[in-house]
Amino acid sequence: MARVVLTPPFGTRFFGGRDHLDIDAGNVFALVRALDGLAPGFADEAGSRAAIAVNGTAITAWDTRLNADSEVLFVLRIAGG
């Protein structure tokens, strides 16, 4: 089970204020699909507003492989002006 770490506002808005979940998924696409199944709308929100890190490293490719001890972090993206 990969550990999903949710920072504001993802946890509050979609998962009743939880800051983490454990999900079985082979890559980030599968993980986001699973999360969207639990909280419809999460996938769109993650696609447009989230920066994602796997095991402490920021990633941009959602086909990044996950395993049982992966930690996947969702944080609001800041792009700037």
Partner: protein, 756 residues
Amino acid sequence: MNAPENPSRFRIVGTRPVRPDGIDKVTGKAIYSPDFAAPGMIHGAILRSPHAHARIRGINTRKAEALPGVKAVITGRDFPTVESLEVSLGEGSGNILHTSRNCMALEKALYHGHAVAAVAATSEAIARAALALIEVDYEVLPHVITVAEAQAPGAPIIHDTVFTSGLDETPITPSNTSSRFVIADGDPDAALAASAVVVEASFSTQPVHQCYIEPHGCVASFNADGQAQIWASSQGAFMIRDLTASILGLRQADIRVTPLEIGGGFGGKTTVYLEPVAMLLSRKAGRPVRIMMTRDEVFRASGPAPGTEATVRIGAAADGTLTGAIIEFTSRGGAFPGADVHPSAMHALAHYRVPARRVTGWEVVTNTASTAAYRAPGAPQTVFPVECCMDELATRLGMDPIELRLKNAVRPGDKGLNHLPLGAVGFVECLEAAKAHPHYTAPLGPNQGRGIAGGSWANYGGPSTVELSVADDGSVLVVTGSPDIGGSRASMAMMAAETLGLPYEAVRVTIADTSSIGVSMATAGSRTTFATGRAVVDAAKEVIAALRDRAANIWGAAPSGVEWRDGAAHCLTGDNAGQSLSIAQIAGRAGQFSGQVSSVVSVTSPDYLPGFAVHICDTELDPETGHLRVVRYTAVQDVGRAIHPDYVEGQLQGGSAQGIGWALSEAYSFNSAGEVENAGFLDYRMPVCSDLPMIDTVMVEVPNPGHPYGVKGVGEVPIVPPLAAVAIAASHAAGVPLRHLPLSPDKVYAALQSRN
């Protein structure tokens, strides 16, 4: 030129060559948005609401359409219906429906100056005359300009579709309070209760405009087969294309956007105001249409950055170690949600180790122009109160303000604002450099005060595409999609030349239209030298590999036996060992291979690093009038590595000047009808040359290991510390805390009177 030259680790990186687009720009040849003309072009003008809040019951355009010379008239009804949709536009995200409605009102005009109709005619004068013939039936509604008005019981609700987001329970009634964003860590209440010293104070900043000198402008041309062109100045041609396509329901590949030179943006040109309007007019008229905003329109209908009211409580142990902080702030978001509340909250304390914190940000919509990004969007508004409180903490603890900051500064390995361990960040190095700078210990004159302040900005990566090709004579072409706002053609050419081992002048850089190169996110977020620069270097490396292969083929040697050095292939093994082939000699034999050597590289780089800065400011107060003047200013910043130091210094100086303006003189004035009273440069007072001293810069170089030359974004950080640096200096000069910006003479004079 006031910093030492880079040590000679590189041939070109760190030197200061003349920018390749320089001569065009000092001779008046460069083509900015008002300078471009398409054959057969006609002129558009926009009718704007004379009310701050009004329902549009109907618009009668018949008289305008009948005016000779008028070719098209449009209203909000000409815009296709778009869903409320958050889309990823590379700039974080945006709501297409709001962007569309901001281009032109439909049901309601939401601020004085909101577009309600537009005309295209054979001359600008006829277009403007036609505007006067459009009859709009308004039902004037009560309006709200300030946060207090917007949140007052019984306040008119601007959007019946906006419900406060981010609350524990989703509300069932719409509200002008559009969102709440909370960051919480530990138990800050307990931490503050146990602190040796707690500083608590309230602060405010005003909305300010980006004040690029070039007003918004574009030319749009729509053909009957659905293919269209736009010529516009913006921070991102792809952003213009994608937003226009989404709003108008066109295919992205059908819109070709040619980026013209851009006359400043600072975040304010990361959205569309005119392009969809000009496109609809062009579709109706069958002719290319130009629209240029006047300065009055720029002030009323574009920008600004949100203003913020904040209350900060921050505590420290007796030795100065920060214990906890509670911050609550409210940002004035303008007509549509989307103010920078989350970056405000995330940056407030991002430069310090604070074990327990709760930062709560609220966004409130008002009947004022919709906010737009402005340099480090959101950060100055919350770092200002935090830094002022840090200064008060230092005073209360009897500590040197830099020592207090050093004690609490974030270091590599600490958790950053994205919850990941910080990489090679240089805040400590900046503080040390500030402490060692002669400015910090220089004596002050009468009525002078000194302030120091720090701050950070996350920076960004994002997608960039570069094509690099070698002409037959060995000269090199680099094509990017990143508009050059402040010298990026020079830095791209420098990085390519450095990598290829060629002279700077052998590489020429073109900013291409959206149909001629793959996608690049806008020149924004301090990303271009980092992300597009990385694509340039990667492309150059691919080209070197291809050139080595060709040389190896020519020599009959193994590619591993060929070294690339000083712009030439050198044979290390075999019969030809010791021989070399220059880039021109290899490129000239393109016909003997599969054509020219070229490489197209698309990157999305997540390994950007935040930037940190420390500014030192001396202000002098005229106690008779309350007028403040900045008399000395030093900006210290970790820049990663400066590719072209002049343009890095220029970012530090320009950002500092903008921050000084925010602190001292810039603000909107609204009358009781909700109309901006100072929609011009005479009355909206951005700093002029005689307002400022020289701005000394210190470039601290802690290279970013995630970039081939160590680049970190530099453009946005420098606007983060100045608000506090100026206000702290002014407070020391005045002997009374000055916490509400701008520090205009009347406000400062009143504070002096209350002190006495």
